[in-house]
C-alpha cells in the first residue's frame, strides 16, 4: 500500500526517492557513453539469443476465468512479487555497497543507475522473456523467470540508490567509531550500514513493491509475434476476463487484488514499519509511532525467542569469533611480512586488472557496434513514425501530469489542512492508490469504448491512474508541513485567496510537489508502453505514440525499431530530467525549503 511518507516521518526516504531521479551530476560524459555502450552490448546479446529461439513453438496455457481458480492464481502472483523483491533487495544492497566503497567503480555505477532507471522497463520485456526462455530448458520456467527478472528491473534501482546514499551519508563520527573499535566488514554492515539505511530501504521497498504489481499485471500475459506467453496469475486472469468482457470475473479479480494489498499492508508493512522505528537516527524519541499488534506478538513470543537463542545467536558468536581471529592473523602477517612482496603481487594484480578491462572493453565495443548496425535497418518512414510518436507521447505525458496536478493540488491541500478530513480521506486514498493501474485499465477501456472514446483518452487515463497518487500524497505531506503560524499570519492580515495561494500554500508545498511530479513523470513514460497499445476482446487497439511503437515492434518482433524507440524514450526521459526536473528540484531545495 502506498503510504504517506509522514506516517513514519521518513523524510530521508522521500529525499532519496526523488534525488535518485535528479542526481547531482558528478561524473564525466565519458562514463555516460560507457554505460550506453554497455547497454547496447547487452541489448545485442539478448537479441542474438532471442532470434535463435524465435522459431520455436509455444504450448498454450489456458487461463481459467472461474473465481475458484483465483486463490491459486493470487498465490502465484504473490510468490512472483516476493521472489522479485527478494532478488531486488539483495542486488540493491550489493550494488549500493560496491558503489559506495569502490572508488574506481563508484562514478560508473552511479551513472549506470541514472540511465537504467530512465529506460522504460517494459521495452525490455520481449528481450528478457526470450532470453529466459532460451536459458531454461522447460518453457514455463523460462517465462516465470522472465516475469521475475522484469519486475526486478522495475523495482531495484531506487532501492539501490537509497542504500548507496544512506551509506554515503553515515555521520563521520559513527563510522570513525566503527573504525577505531576495529569492526569487521560484517559487523559494520550489520550494526552500522544496514540499520542506518533501514528506514530509506523500507520506504523504497514499499514504493518498489507497488511498482512491481503494476508491471506484473502487464507481463503475466504478453504476445510476441505469433507467440503467446502466459503465466497463471492474477494479472493474466484480469486480462483474460477483460478480453472476453466477463464482468463478474473482473469484479472477483479486483476484489482479490484489493484483499491481497490490504493484507500485505497489515501483515507485512505495518510490522516492518513499526520495527524499523528503532532505526530512526534521531536524538529524541518521537511521540508518533506506528503500532502493529502482529509485531508485538512476534516480539513477545517465547517460542521465537528460544528459537533465536539456539540458532541465530550461537551462529553469530561463531561468526564474530572467526572474523576476529582472521583479523588478528592478518595483522600479524602484515607486521611480519616485508613490504617488497606486496609490491610484486600488487603489480601483478594491476596487469590482470588492465587485461580484464581491455577484454571487457573489446567485447562491449563489438556487441555495441553490432547493435548500432541493427539501427541501419530502420527505414526513413519508420524513423519519422518514431519521432511523431515521441512527440505525441510527450504531449500525452504532460497532459496527464497537468490533469493530475489540477485535481490533486486543491484536494491534497484541503486534506492536509484539515486533520479530520485527513483521517477519513487518507485510508481511502491509500487503498485506491494501491490498486495497480494496469489491473484497472482493461475495465476502464471497456467503459470508454462503450461510451465511444478511444485509446487516445484511455492512455491518458492510465497514466493518470498510475501516477496521480504520487502527486496527491506529496501534496498532502507538503500541506501538513506548512507551519500553522504561517497560515495564521495569512489569516491575521486578511490575505485574499489568490495571495494566500501565491505566498503561503504554493511555495510551501513546492518541494513536495516537485518530488511528486518527478516520480509521476517517470511513471507516466513507462506507462505509455502499455497504455498506447492494447489487446481487447480479441482485437488490437492502438494510438499514435512512442509506447505504441515499442509495443507494436515487440508484437511483430522488429528488434531494430524496438531498440531505436527505446533509445529515443530513454534519451527523452534523461533530457527532461536534466533540463526540467533537476533545476526545479535544486530550486526547491534552496529557496523553498522550510526551516532550512
Amino acid at each position: 500500500m502506498i503510504r504517506l511518507p509522514e506516517s513514519f516521518s521518513s523524510l530521508r526516504g522521500r529525499e532519496t526517492l526523488a534525488r535518485s531521479q535528479v542526481l547531482q551530476r558528478s561524473w564525466p560524459v565519458v562514463l555516460d557513453l560507457c554505460v550506453a555502450g554497455i547497454g547496447l552490448a547487452c541489448f545485442y546479446g539478448v537479441v542474438v539469443i532471442a532470434q535463435y529461439w524465435f522459431g520455436h513453438a509455444e504450448p498454450e496455457i489456458v487461463i481459467s476465468q472461474s473465481p475458484r481458480a483465483l486463490p491459486l492464481y493470487a498465490f502465484y502472483s504473490v510468490v512472483r512479487i516476493f521472489l522479485a523483491y527478494l532478488l531486488s533487495l539483495l542486488f540493491a544492497v550489493g550494488y549500493g555497497y560496491v558503489a559506495a566503497y569502490n572508488k574506481r567503480m563508484e562514478a560508473l555505477m552511479i551513472a549506470a543507475l541514472d540511465i537504467l532507471q530512465s529506460i522504460p522497463v517494459l521495452s525490455f520485456l520481449p528481450g528478457v522473456m526470450l532470453a529466459m526462455v532460451a536459458l531454461f530448458p522447460t518453457r514455463q520456467i523460462g517465462v516465470e523467470m522472465g516475469a521475475i527478472v522484469l519486475i526486478f528491473t522495475g523495482q531495484v534501482w531506487n532501492m539501490a540508490f537509497s542504500f548507496y546514499s544512506s551509506i554515503k551519508s553515515i555521520p563521520r563520527e559513527l563510522s570513525e567509531a566503527a573504525d577505531i573499535y576495529q569492526f569487521s566488514r560484517w559487523q559494520r554492515l550489520v550494526q552500522l550500514e544496514l540499520p542506518y539505511s533501514a528506514i530509506g530501504l523500507v520506504w523504497n521497498s514499499m514504493v518498489s513493491v507497488a511498482g512491481g504489481w503494476f508491471f506484473l499485471m502487464a507481463c503475466e500475459m504478453f504476445v510476441l509475434g505469433t507467440r503467446d506467453f502466459r503465466l497463471p496469475g492474477l494479472g493474466s486472469f484480469l486480462q483474460t476476463a477483460a478480453g472476453t468482457g466477463n464482468t463478474a470475473a473482473i469484479v472477483w479479480g479486483l476484489v482479490t487484488m484489493i484483499a491481497i494489498i490490504v493484507a500485505t499492508d497489515q501483515l507485512i508493512w505495518r510490522p516492518v514499519i513499526a520495527w524499523s522505528d528503532k532505526f530512526k537516527f534521531e536524538q529524541v524519541e518521537s511521540t508518533k509511532q506506528v503500532r502493529s499488534p502482529l509485531l508485538h506478538l512476534l516480539q513477545h513470543s517465547r517460542g521465537l525467542r528460544t528459537l533465536k537463542h539456539h540458532t541465530i545467536r550461537p551462529l553469530g558468536e561463531a561468526v564474530y569469533k572467526r572474523l576476529a581471529e582472521e583479523r588478528k592473523a592478518r595483522s600479524e602477517l602484515a607486521a611480519a611480512a616485508p613490504p617488497e612482496t606486496e609490491d610484486h603481487s600488487a603489480s601483478l594484480k594491476t596487469v590482470l586488472r588492465v587485461a580484464f578491462v581491455a577484454v571487457a572493453a573489446v567485447a562491449v565495443l563489438y556487441a555495441a557496434w553490432h547493435a548500432i548496425g541493427l539501427l541501419h535497418q530502420v527505414s526513413g518512414p519508420q524513423f519519422g513514425e518514431i519521432m511523431k510518436g515521441a512527440l505525441a507521447t510527450f504531449l500525452r505525458v504532460n497532459v496527464s501530469l497537468v490533469l493530475a496536478a489540477a485535481w490533486t493540488i486543491p484536494v491534497g491541500v484541503a486534506i492536509g489542512f484539515h486533520p479530520r478530513l485527513a483521517r477519513i480521506a487518507q485510508p481511502l486514498a491509500q487503498i485506491a492508490a494501491s490498486v495497480p493501474a494496469t489491473a484497472l485499465f482493461p475495465v476502464i477501456l471497456i467503459a470508454l469504448v462503450q461510451m465511444g472514446g478511444g485509446l487516445g483518452i484511455g492512455s491518458i487515463a492510465l497514466m493518470l491512474l498510475g501516477t496521480q497518487w504520487y502527486i496527491l500524497f506529496n501534496v498532502i505531506a507538503g500541506a501538513m508541513a506548512i507551519p500553522s503560524d504561517m497560515r495564521e499570519v495569512a489569516t491575521l492580515f486578511k490575505f485574499t485567496r489568490v495571495q494566500r495561494w501565491k505566498t503561503v500554500i504554493l511555495p510551501g508545498i513546492f518541494p513536495f510537489l516537485i518530488t511528486g511530479l518527478v516520480t509521476a513523470s517517470g511513471g507516466a513514460w513507462n506507462a505509455s508502453i502499455i497504455a498506447e497499445y492494447f489487446h481487447l476482446k480479441g482485437q488490437t487497439m492502438q494510438t499514435v505514440g512512442l509506447g505504441a511503437v515499442i509495443s507494436a515492434a515487440t508484437d511483430s518482433g522488429q528488434f531494430q525499431i524496438l531498440l531505436l524507440a527505446t533509445i529515443v524514450m530513454a534519451l527523452m526521459v534523461v533530457t527532461i530530467n536534466r533540463l526540467v526536473w533537476r533545476p526545479l528540484y535544486r530550486l526547491s531545495e534552496s529557496r523553498y525549503k522550510l526551516g532550512g
Binding site: 570513525e176 576476529a324 534552496s590
Partner: protein, 449 residues
C-alpha cells in the same frame, strides 16, 4: 621519564590543489604522548585539533611524516586506543549494553566474558540499571557516559577524547569531568594516558598535566608546557587564573605570525598566491557591536579572559569577535587585554545608521575581499559580479569549506554595511537598491564633502 607510547614525527596534513599550490592544514609537527599523563590540546577553530587527533589514532593518514606506536609504525602496530566523541557516536538502534559490547564483539570475545566486562564498566561509570535502554531515551550526560563506557571497556592504553564535554550543559560537563578525573587518579581504569582535544581553556587547566596550544594557518604547535598545580585544582586560586590568563594571551597574541597575513613563509610550499586574503573571522556585526558596548561598560579596556567569563563564552565563541573587531580597527589587543579605539568607541555609541557608515568605511579600508567586491561591482556595466569569480580566487588560498565560510562572512558584512547586496538565486553580488530619498541625501552629502 615515563616511556613514550605514541610519537608523531614531522607529521603534516595538506590538500593538493589543482594549481601546484597546496593548502596546508597542519605544518610539520612533532608530538609525543607518554604514559601517566593527561595531555590537553587547545586551539582556535581551524587549527586542526581534530585532524591531529585522528592522525595520532591512525584513523587518518598523515600527508607526510610518520606516527609511531611504541616505536613501531602505526599501520603495522596493534594499536589499542579508544575515542570519546563530541557527538557521542552511539548506535541509536543498539541498547546501552549492546553499544558497549560492540567493540568486544569485534575482538571476538566470548559472550559470557563480554557481558561480565560490559556490566562491570557500566557500573563504574554509573549506568547500572540502564543496560536495556536505547540511547535516545537518555539525557545528553547519560549518553556520554555510555560513550565513556564503550571507550573504556576495551581497556585502551591511550584514551582519546574529541571535545567530549562540549555538547553538554555546564553542570553536567563539570560533573562528568570530575568523575573522569577520579577514575584516572584512583587508577580504577587501566588506561596509561589520556589525550583530550578541547576549546575550553578552563577545562584544559583543570584536567591536564600537559597543555599543547595550537596556532592556525597552518595548524602548528605554539607552545607545549607542563601544568604543575596539584589536584584537586581550584578555579579561584591565583595559580589557576594566572595560567588561564597566560593561555588567553598566547591565543590572542599570535605574534610569531599575525593572523591578518596567512601563509607567511613557514609551512607554505610551491608558488605562493599573488595576493593574500585575510582570514575573515566568522563574527556577525551585531556581535561586534555587542562586544564593544560591553568593553565601554568596562571603561574601554579589559582582560579578554574576564570578558569571556562575563559573557559565559568559550574561546571559540569570543575569539572570532575579538579578531573581527581588531581587524576593523575597533579595538587593539595587547598582553591579553582588549582596548577600545576611538572609532570603536564611536561605533559603540552611535545609532544604527551611523554604525553602518562607520562599519562601511572600516570594512573597505581594512578588508581586501570586500574592497575587491565593491570595485568589481563598480567596474561592471550591469553592476553585478558572480560569486564564482571570488570563490575561485579564495580557493587558491583556502580549503573548499573555508572558502565557502569566507564568502558567507563577506556577504554578511557587505550586506550589513550596505556595500553590496547578494542575489542568492543567481549567486551574484549586486549593487544595493537605495531608497530614492536616501540616495538623494547621500548625493547631497557627497557634495557637502
Amino acid at each position: 621519564m615515563q616511556p613514550v607510547i605514541i610519537r608523531a614525527e614531522r607529521v603534516e596534513k595538506y590538500y593538493a590543489q589543482p594549481s601546484e599550490n597546496r593548502i596546508q592544514v597542519i605544518a610539520p609537527t612533532d608530538l609525543s604522548i607518554a604514559a601517566g599523563e593527561i595531555v590537553a590540546l587547545l586551539g582556535p577553530s581551524g587549527s586542526g585539533k581534530s585532524t591531529l587527533l585522528r592522525m595520532l589514532t591512525g584513523l587518518s593518514q598523515p600527508s607526510a611524516g610518520e606516527v609511531y606506536w611504541h616505536e613501531k609504525p602505526i599501520e603495522t602496530a596493534n594499536v589499542n586506543v579508544s575515542i570519546v566523541f563530541q557527538s557521542f557516536a552511539l548506535f541509536p538502534w543498539l541498547t546501552v549494553l549492546e553499544n558497549v559490547e560492540a567493540p568486544l564483539k569485534a575482538r571476538g570475545m566470548e559472550a559470557v566474558e563480554r557481558r561480565r566486562r560490559s556490566l562491570k564498566i557500566l557500573d563504574t561509570v554509573g549506568l547500572d540499571g540502564f543496560q536495556a535502554a536505547y540511547p535516545k531515551e537518555l539525557s545528553g550526560g547519560m549518553r556520554q557516559r555510555v560513550g565513556f563506557a564503550r571507550a573504556l571497556v576495551v581497556e585502551p592504553e591511550v584514551l582519546f577524547m574529541d571535545e567530549p564535554f562540549s555538547a553538554l550543559d555546564v553542570l553536567t560537563a563539570e560533573n562528568l569531568r570530575s568523575e573522569l578525573l577520579e577514575l584516572w587518579q584512583k587508577k580504577t581504569i587501566p588506561t596509561q594516558a589520556i589525550f583530550i582535544v578541547t576549546h575550553n581553556i578552563e577545562e584544559a587547566v583543570l584536567l591536564a598535566d600537559r597543555i599543547i596550544v595550537l596556532g592556525r594557518n597552518p595548524g602548528r604547535v605554539r607552545t607545549d608546557f607542563k601544568v604543575t598545580i596539584p589536584h584537586p585544582r581550584d578555579k579561584k586560586t591565583a595559580a589557576f587564573t594566572q595560567l588561564v590568563d597566560y593561555i588567553y594571551k598566547v591565543l590572542t597574541q599570535p605574534d610569531t605570525q599575525p593572523p591578518a597575513l596567512p601563509g607567511t613563509a613557514d609551512g607554505k610550499r610551491g608558488r605562493a598566491p599573488k595576493q593574500h586574503y585575510q582570514m575573515l573571522p566568522h563574527a556577525r556585526p551585531g556581535g561586534i557591536a555587542g562586544l564593544l558596548e560591553l568593553l565601554l561598560d568596562h571603561n574601554g579596556k579589559d582582560d579578554i579572559y574576564r570578558l569571556a567569563d562575563d559573557l559565559a563564552f568559550e574561546i571559540d565563541d569570543l575569539l572570532p569577535i575579538v579578531d573581527a573587531a581588531q581587524l576593523l580597527g575597533f579595538l587593539t589587543v595587547t598582553e591579553g587585554d582588549a582596548a577600545i579605539t576611538p572609532t570603536g568607541a564611536e561605533y559603540a555609541n552611535s545609532e544604527i545608521l551611523r554604525q553602518k557608515e562607520l562599519f562601511r568605511s572600516a570594512a573597505v579600508e581594512n578588508v581586501l575581499l570586500l574592497r575587491q567586491i565593491v570595485r568589481a561591482i563598480e567596474a561592471k556595466s550591469d553592476r553585478s559580479v558572480t560569486e564564482e569569480f571570488f570563490h575561485d580566487m579564495l580557493d587558491e588560498q583556502f580549503s573548499e569549506d573555508e572558502t565557502l565560510r569566507q564568502l558567507e562572512t563577506a556577504i554578511n558584512w557587505g550586506r550589513y554595511a550596505e556595500l553590496f547586496d547578494f542575489d542568492a538565486s543567481r549567486r551574484r553580488f549586486i549593487q544595493p537598491e537605495k531608497l530614492p530619498a536616501e540616495a538623494d541625501q547621500q548625493s547631497a552629502e557627497e557634495i557637502d564633502a
